[in-house]
Amino acid sequence: MTTAVEQLNQVSPMPHGKTPAVEQISIRLEFGSQPKHQVSLPKRISQDESEAGDDKPVTVKYLIKWMKDNLLSERVEMFGDGDGVRPGILVLINDTDWELEGELDYQLQENDEVVFISTLHGG
């Protein structure tokens, strides 16, 4: 039995976005102590943060939605909650608590590292 977060790591690296013409940035994802996972995201996204576009830099909100759509196969509810992650999942951006980095509104840069740690099991 694996948790949703662990499942993330079991999928092979995703193909790049549907429209290869869109400029991409590369982000490293890490889940607990699992090996790092390299993904590509569009550098800029639409105003409503739902798809690639030219309105604003890509955000963590987009990343989480992208992960739910592309990386999580089942038990998405164990990871996501609304636009964000479930309470009890800690997020670090470049080794800093995402609560200090603007959480969902943080604008991702090339080579950023985002770590997800579940606190919800194992005592």
């Binding site: 800690l90 200090l100 194992g122």
Partner: protein, 334 residues
């Protein structure tokens, strides 16, 4: 955006927002305040330890007990508590789960230079959780595991000759217990227990392990994959998201809870289990009752086995070795 600076030292970049206080602190200050607060929990009200005490750290290989082992050995040296520390692990006999997590504990043993004792359900009760689940099924197996672990910890500690057990229960765990109204109002332990992390938030324990690069085992128990999905836990995390002090507030309400004298006098007096000598409020302790059900070959109905019974087990049944100790003195086990 310039990096936010630590609100304590004012110079280094803040890396965590503390849930308890809302303050932002840098890595070094975080380690220092976290460790100091645990030290304060240990020394409050005259202190939970005496110099020369032999203390067992209940170690599962999970995040809480791994951080506890690290912090206890750090503080014991820094503040010269003069404690003789041991690691005590219970092997429930869950293939693919506990055997892996015990490897983590063995790693801790090497890293901190602490002697390790592993006591298994198999040697104590003659049953592993694998065997129990194959007989009774997955439903309610946690009841067996919980009762067996509590007594196994006491017995393992007695074998080590320690006078005190510390466990990694954190503030979130304790608040959850208060919410679920399952405060143990009368101790059924024979060896004093303490929780140095009782005011430490789970988030900080996990962050501490992350930044200290401590290796811990984080897989759900295979027999209880949904245990952490409990409603109380989720409710607490939601509360904490709205108001971080909620956890401490709930613990505080639990700590000020007092039993009415009438209720106390109505509770059964503690005695010793007629069969194994362990502390009990009935003729048989919970573990002996559960074991009798298992030995009878009962399925999930084994859980309902009566705590009334004779000192001698029915012929042919295995029993728990006799244990000779009196109850530890604590009324409300927070």
């Amino acid at each position: 955006m310039p990096p936010r600076l630590c609100s304590l030292c004012g110079t280094a970049k803040a890396i965590i927002k503390r849930p308890k206080t809302g303050t932002q602190v840098c890595k070094d200050c975080f380690f220092e305040v976290f460790e100091t607060e645990v030290h304060n929990t240990i020394i409050e009200n005259g202190g939970i330890f005496k110099r020369g005490d032999k203390v067992a750290i209940g170690a599962s290989g999970g995040k809480d007990s791994t951080v506890l082992a690290h912090v206890m050995s750090t503080l014991n040296q820094r503040y010269d508590y003069g404690l003789d520390l041991f690691l005590l692990s219970i092997d429930e006999g869950i293939t693919g789960y506990r055997d892996d997590s015990l490897e983590t504990v063995k790693q801790n043993q090497i890293e901190y230079g602490l002697p390790l004792k592993i006591l298994s359900y198999d040697e104590l009760y003659g049953w592993t959780m694998d065997k129990i689940v194959s007989q009774i099924g997955k439903k309610n197996n946690c009841t067996f595991c919980g009762v067996f672990r509590r007594q196994a910890l006491d017995r393992g500690a007695a074998q080590l000759g320690v006078s005190h057990i510390v466990t990694g229960h954190n503030a979130d765990d304790i608040a959850e217990t208060v919410l679920m109204n399952t405060l143990v109002t009368e101790s059924e332990d024979t060896i004093k227990r303490s929780k140095p992390f009782k005011y430490a938030y789970e988030k900080e324990i996990v962050m501490y392990a992350y930044f200290k690069k401590l290796t811990y085992f984080s897989t759900e128990c295979i027999y209880s994959p949904d245990a952490y999905r409990g409603h109380a836990r989720v409710f607490l995390k939601d509360l904490e998201a709205i108001r971080p002090s909620a956890i401490i507030d709930i613990i505080h309400s639990g700590e000020t809870f007092q039993l009415d004298e009438d209720v106390k006098s109505g509770m059964k007096a503690l005695q010793n289990c007629l069969r194994c000598g362990y502390i009990s409020s009935n003729d048989l302790c919970k573990a002996c009752a559960l074991l009798e059900g298992l030995e009878q070959g009962l399925d999930k109905s084994a859980i309902k086995t009566s705590q009334e019974g004779a000192g001698t087990a029915p012929t042919g049944q295995r029993t728990i070795p006799f244990y000779n100790r009196t109850a530890a003195k604590e009324e409300i086990a927070i």
